[in-house]
Amino acid sequence: MNKDILLSMEDISVSFYTHRGIVKAVRNLNLQIKKGDTLALVGESGCGKSVTAHTINQLIPMPPGKIESGKVIFEGRDLLELDDKEIAALRGDRISMIFQEPMTSLNPVFRIGDQIADVFMAHYNIKKEEALEKTIKLLEMVKIPAPERRIKDYPHQLSGGMRQRAMIAMALASPEPGLLIADEPTTALDVTIQAQILRLIYELKQDINMSVLLITHDMGVVAETADRVIVMYAGRKMEEADVYSLFENPSHPYTQGLLNSLPSNEKYAGANRLEAIKGTIPDLLTIGNGCPFENRCPHAMPICRESFPEETKLDDDHSVWCHYTGEKDVSQSSKGDIADQEKE
């Protein structure tokens, strides 16, 4: 196994057993994160991107959730075989996580400084004063102004952007941050603040050689921060590539549709309609063994219903899972096609 690989997930399938049936949230997923890289998992709601992240540090509620198969290899150990104590030791130490809404992840009745200092005290054998000193240095690193005063603030006294910075600081408060899982870290933030936070994550990654697993629905965020990208849809990996290759040559009909759905796409200068993907995301309860995008795909063929395609390597760094091999351009076929979305 390659030494540069920090985390690898092999053939992960996760289901949720609900009273309505079995929801297959993630199916046969493989991914690898290299040291110092940012891997983005991108997709729409229900595609399984958050479930994938939660599988890593075992935040999947079980039951109803169940990891059906697979391994999560992190630094030579399969995380799925560790006991609660061992996984708890990894959380916040080698694997940290930041969430979409920092207000709900910070404890509202403790001062910011104390909360971050706690993390230091848990990982190092140090006294409170020393931990607070380290906290101030860390807050400086995530560019919170006047950190010596800010450590005395409660979470509600900080703005949304500041809170997310504090969360990032907390994620870094360990001897050697390994993997940062960022689950929609900027979705709740205003766009000017989002740009600052993305910049911060980008710079920190450069400075301290941290790996990032970025979960997002926003192709713009992917383009700004990721090194590699996995496009997910209804629990499946549809396309994987390095970021430049993905945006230059999006090859899965779904990836193309996703990029075409963005009003900021350059080709819409002067246009008055978007090329929307027709239809809606399938119900994960009733999904079959075929390609889940089949009902919305402009190139769907009979085989797409029957089996999920094997990997097609376009080049060393770019793979796609699709039966269709012709000229992959959906731009004409799906134009203005919104009315038949009900006819599933």
């Binding site: 709601s45 766009v191 603040i193 629905h217 990721a226 945006f247 900021s264 796409n265």
Partner: protein
């Protein structure tokens, strides 16, 4: 062009309860002295970050909020002066589509009943006429009328937003305010709903005010754009003009901060403005944007700049363009 709505020096203030005995109550100037016009058939986009007052403005225009000063003239009559009967008549013409399709539809009513409600309230049409209209409108927004016996939770987010739009259409309005109408939707669904809104605009010649925080969405759908910051209009221009030639440093920051859908050249991108949006309770002195502005001058700290027309139809409130 025919003027449909005119807003003159509109102010909406909210007084906060003071938490200390004897201290002065604090006032949030959510909409602070705004003037603009909406022409018939136009799609006016209003864009700004959270707390800039864009939603308060939309609600005040429909008299869903109080106003603290100024005028809102719809076809030259002041909305706040109308008596109940006239206001009810006017409400038929003005509709709103809300952000959250989950909380804006009554979960205990079937879709058919939800859509029938507006016509019943206004005493329009017989039972059969209402049913026929529901079928027609549901068809129009892309939902099969056979589903009108279903409850809202049986639909996906995008379909619910279509139902919200259908409800706004039931009374044949001429003016629709969309408040973050596509913000809660996945991008592939968002694109469908944007197309639907544009189709309806072409067909019925509606006038829209489209309020959103997402610059790309506003830029795509609007014909004219207002940029708001802390209760004030900082810049307004025709869409194409604004995209090509945005003048206000805040507008520029918004455009710069918007993530590009192309990773090329991202290392070289200019860093974005630092700092947070100040609290609207105690906005900074002078121009509200000056603490974050890379081009702030001494004058900016003292006096708020007037909204000045710099070229036909293009207004900007910034001392750089005096």
């Amino acid at each position: 062009m025919e003027k449909l709505l005119e807003v003159r020096n509109l102010k909406t203030y909210f007084t906060l309860k003071s938490d200390k005995l004897g201290s002065k109550p604090e006032v949030v100037k959510a909409v602070n002295d705004l003037s603009f016009e909406v022409n018939k058939g136009e799609i006016l986009g209003i864009v700004g970050e959270s707390g800039c007052g864009k939603s308060t403005l939309g609600k005040t225009i429909l008299k869903l909020n109080h106003k603290s000063g100024g005028e809102i003239l719809y076809k030259d009559s002041e909305i706040f002066d109308l008596d109940d009967k006239d206001l009810k008549d006017l409400r038929k013409k003005m509709q709103m589509v809300f952000q959250d399709p989950f909380s804006s539809l009554n979960p205990r009513k079937k879709v058919g009943a939800l859509l029938a409600q507006p016509m019943k309230i206004h005493g329009m049409g017989s039972k059969e006429e209402i049913e026929a209209k529901i079928d027609k409108i549901m068809e129009e927004v892309g939902i099969n009328p056979v589903y009108k016996g279903r409850f809202p939770h049986q639909f996906s987010g995008g379909q619910r937003q279509r139902i919200g739009i259908a409800r706004a259409l039931m009374l044949d309005p001429e003016f629709i305010i969309c408040d973050e109408a596509v913000s809660a939707l996945d991008v592939s669904i968002q694109a469908q709903v944007l197309n639907l809104l544009l189709d309806l605009h072409d067909k019925y010649k509606f006038t829209y005010i489209f309020i959103a925080h997402d610059l790309a969405v506003v830029e795509f759908i609007s014909t004219r754009i207002l940029v708001m910051y802390l209760g004030k209009i900082v810049e307004s221009a025709d869409k194409n003009e604004l995209v090509k030639d945005h003048l206000h440093p805040y507008t520029k920051a918004l455009f710069d901060a918007f993530p590009a859908t192309d990773p090329k050249g991202r290392e070289k991108r200019e860093p974005v403005i630092m700092g947070d949006v100040p609290s609207p309770i105690n906005p900074p002195s002078g121009c509200y944007f000056h603490p974050r502005c890379p081009r702030a001058m001494d004058k900016c700290k003292l006096e708020y700049p007037p909204l000045k027309e710099v070229s036909p139809g293009h207004k900007v409130a910034c001392w750089l363009y005096e």
